[in-house]
Amino acid sequence: MLDMASLLMTAPELVLTASGLVLLMVAAYAGDGSARIVGWLSIAALLSAGLTLCGIAGHGGEAFDGLYRADAFSSFSKVLIYATAALSIVIAPRFFATGRAVRAEYPVLILFAVAGMGLMVSASDMLTLYVGLELNSLASYVLASFMRQDGRSAEAGLKYFVLGSLASGILLYGISLLYGFTGSTSYAGIATAMTDGLSNGELFGLVFVLAGLAFKISAVPFHMWTPDVYEGAPTPVTAFFATAPKIAAVALFVRVTIEAMGSAFAAWQQIIIFLALASIFFGAVGAIGQTNIKRLMAYSSINNVGFALVGLAAGTPEGVAAVLSYLAIYVVMTMGSFYCILQMRDAAGNPVEDIASLAGLSQSRKGLAAAFAIFMFSLAGIPPLFGFWAKFLVFDAAVGAGLAGLAAFGIAGSVIGAFYYLKVIKTIYFDEPAEGSAPAGSPLENALMAICAAVIVLGYLLNPFLDKVSAAAAAALL
């Protein structure tokens, strides 16, 4: 049944899909010369999609007979996704401009991915979830191999595709098991069926679904694709991967566990605790030996997902709010870090990714070095930077739910993590300047980097606002 209210509630996705299709035509007929204008129009599309959230699309409730939900939780996630997607488009032209073909499909693919993410965070049915996830994934596979001439990029795309399909298969198998044993694909139906104890079939389904989703959020032990994809993909795409799809996947993860499997809390809590601790420790240990900054950021994202899951393990509204706040803060730190990484150039102006090429940055580019250090300290969770607050919130939620042991182990893991962030800072500040490194940035990148750094330093003033918004979003689930 197609009703007006449902259409209005899905307005953000409709806007994105429609503008994606139109812009694809523009790109196809106007050629790559239109890349810049397509980029700005895509940002406009993201902005207008964001604006529709002010209306019924932001809080309307169920649409299409329970296939889709528009609530504070989805709005919170969508705002973050749209913002990071727009920022990933903004930074792209300069990167692709240096000796590479500028292609107009880049922003269009991002629009399609974002439409899929919107469906992911709004899904209240396993099938909507799957469709959204696949839409996002397909666009992502293409984005990963966007630089076709570059072997690493093609490899990244292929790896991502093969492993991603495997994960999708596992997820789909889990969904089919759940459907078979609960008789429903809707979250509400599954939750109802699970209230009277968990049958073996349901348990298997739950485990498979979580395993498939763990791949998408790159939680250990399903993380192996992340470093390769992050390293191989073009840097703006990596920045995108580390932020928007991460938010979507974690938000989806949260919604599935809380809404669909809320009554089987005891069954999935232990899985989440394992995923969280494993991600924190393996992410931290794996990062130590890395010499490529993008690989390091990949392990950092694995590590951070672990921390976000600590909040989910609590299973309380507070825990969900903490996860959302964590994502918001994480996104600012990560985006900021990538603005710094994008400025890493060699003497000829080509992008470089070696951590060693950062040596002595503090003497050649003071501002960039300071911003880099701020993001690294913040990712390490050292107060007074905002990254500390993110960790604070998830651990507070864990302690509140009686998981003080988990919190203690998790935070001990953050000390291991601090080591590799310190290594980057050491290279920037303590080492002698590297030869042949000539970091350069555009005013736009510098401005965005400065804004991110300011948020990270002064973020505590946003606490009351962040608390309110994330609590409202969490209340929509529980």
Binding site: F377, A407, A412, L422
Partner: protein, 529 residues
């Protein structure tokens, strides 16, 4: 607001912070001037703070309080008691000296150096003034960032290893404290430190909370066996960095014990007193012996710091007025004296660029002014009466004697060993013949160096001769801590009991013979308990 009508504590933190930002955007010469001006202004504010601190009997415990709930889950809550006041005074006193000490010895990246020091000052004052649990934690941890940079950028040859070790060691210690804090804030329903200080936590839980806090403060203090970061950090840090590290940062551990562990977990503190005693006794003897064989001056002083800090911990865990007051006095005295000793090392390091003790000798011949001041600080470090450390060490040992005479016995050996390694150090550096050519060429102290060392010398003597100025502001606060410990503490093995006066001698011809002085035997009578 407060008796001054303006938020003096926030101002004291804002000034160095503003100075730090200004330094970042100025050249070396300007940065030096800005840093000196900002720290001197803070010193003036610190004096104003001390003069206006109400020490009367009816004075409120927490003064100059500020409260602004702007951070959602925690608040910008400031306020000081006498204990914090003294430590703030120490901080603002040492900071201009640190800046002056780096005036010439630091030549590379001066503006960033000054900025790091000013930021450090802001954070240290923040630690001592924070009245909100999480605000305290933020300042406590944030200090790692500038110190990491100070050691790593301006440090010695092995600075990178030292900076990592410093950072990760102290971070690992602190994070468990955060988990304990989260639990406490939920249990007590508040993050307000004064309220938490009177909250009675379940004794069973106190054990865990105490251990979590202990992990943090023991590393910061540092206590044996988690002290190993300190010698590395000290040796590699630039002179002023060592001064701040020894002078103020180590005191955060002691401050943490007196502000958190003792009043918040009295039962657990009493329960774990043996642990603290044990580690402290090992520290006193072991690190003193290690200090005795050091070839590196800074390392020697670093190890002596560990030994002195052990006297602080035994004093704190004596749970009586004398012990806690003594511990505070040792902290203040050690802050001045170890800072001054590092500066003394810095003076000759700047001339010869080595810290190896054997490279010196006979300095009293060609650097008499230096030898006099160095001798004063050596004596103060040994704990000679008339200097700051004597007061503190005497009080803490007296306090701990009431709690456990064995601990007092072992801890007192620290004074003897301290005399051994300090005098040995002094002999090798200042006495003997002036045989080395390059040492002979070293000029005596210049005006700047005298200006750095003389105020510390004056303060050391002031603390030694009239300690009341420093004890009076803290007395009521220490009493409150001791009262809080009263129900839980172990009775101790040494009590003063009124002795029985011996019967007057009955010999007819000696009616005027004085009765035996009863007090002479009380100590021994007490031992028997």
């Amino acid at each position: 607001m407060n008796q001054l009508g303006f938020p003096i504590l926030s101002l004291m933190m804002a000034l160095p912070l503003a100075g730090a930002l200004a330094c970042l955007f100025s050249n070396a010469a300007t940065a030096r001037m800005i840093a000196l001006a900002a720290t001197l202004a803070d010193l003036v504010l610190g004096i104003v703070l001390w003069l206006n601190f109400d020490q009367g009997l009816s004075a409120p415990q927490w003064q100059f309080t500020e409260y602004a709930p702007i951070f959602g889950r925690f608040a910008w809550a400031m306020g000081i008691d006498g204990i914090a006041l003294m430590l703030i005074a120490l901080t603002v006193f040492l900071m201009p000296i640190c800046i002056l000490a780096s005036w010439e010895s630091v030549q590379k990246r001066v503006s960033e150096y000054m900025a790091a020091f000013l930021l450090m000052e802001t954070l240290m004052i923040g630690v001592f003034t924070a009245q909100d649990l999480f605000l305290f934690y933020i300042f406590f941890e944030a200090g790692l960032i500038p110190m990491y940079l100070i050691i790593g950028i301006w440090g010695g040859v092995n600075r990178i290893y030292a900076s990592y070790k410093f950072f990760l060691y102290t971070l690992l210690g602190s994070v468990l404290m955060l988990i304990a804090m989260l639990w406490m804030a939920r249990e007590a329903g508040t993050t307000d430190i004064p309220t938490l200080m009177t909250h009675n936590f379940d004794p069973k839980v106190q054990t865990w909370l105490w251990l979590a806090f202990f992990a943090s403060f023991a590393v910061k203090m540092p206590m044996w066996p988690v002290h190993t970061w300190l010698p590395d950090a000290h040796v590699q840090a630039p002179t002023a960095g060592s001064v701040i590290l020894a002078g103020v940062l180590l005191k955060m551990g002691g401050y943490g014990f007196i502000r958190f562990s003792l009043p918040m977990f009295p039962d657990a503190s009493a329960q774990f007193a043996w642990l603290v005693y044990g580690l402290s006794m090992v520290a006193v003897v072991y690190t003193s012996l290690v200090a005795l064989v050091q070839q590196d001056m800074k390392k020697l002083i670093a190890y002596s710091s560990v030994a002195h800090m052990a006297i602080v911990t035994v004093g704190l865990f004596a749970f009586n007025q004398a012990g806690v007051e003594g511990a505070m006095m040792v902290m203040l005295g050690h802050g001045l004296v170890s800072g001054a000793l590092f500066l003394c090392v810095g003076v000759i390091y700047d001339r010869l660029h080595t810290r190896e003790i054997d490279r010196y000798g006979g300095l009293s011949i060609n650097m008499p002014k230096y030898a006099v001041l160095f001798l004063l600080f050596t004596m103060a470090s040994v704990g000679l009466p008339g200097t700051s450390n004597f007061v503190g060490e005497f009080l803490s040992l007296m306090g701990v004697y009431q709690a456990s005479s064995w601990v007092a016995l072992v801890s007192t050996t620290g004074i003897i060993l301290g005399a051994a390694y300090m005098l040995y150090l002094y002999r090798r550096i200042c006495y003997g013949d002036l045989t080395k050519e390059d040492v002979r060429a070293m000029p005596d102290l210049n005006a700047r160096e005298i200006a750095i060392l003389a105020p510390i010398a004056a303060a050391v003597l002031w603390m030694g001769i009239y300690p009341e100025s420093f004890l009076a502001p803290m007395r009521a606060d220490v009493r409150a801590v001791v009262a809080r410990m009263e129900p839980a503490k172990h009775p101790g093995d040494a009590h003063l009991t009124a002795g029985k006066p011996a019967a007057p001698a009955a010999h007819g011809g000696h009616g005027a013979a004085a009765p035996h002085e009863p007090s002479a035997t009380t100590e021994h009578a007490g031992e028997a308990h």
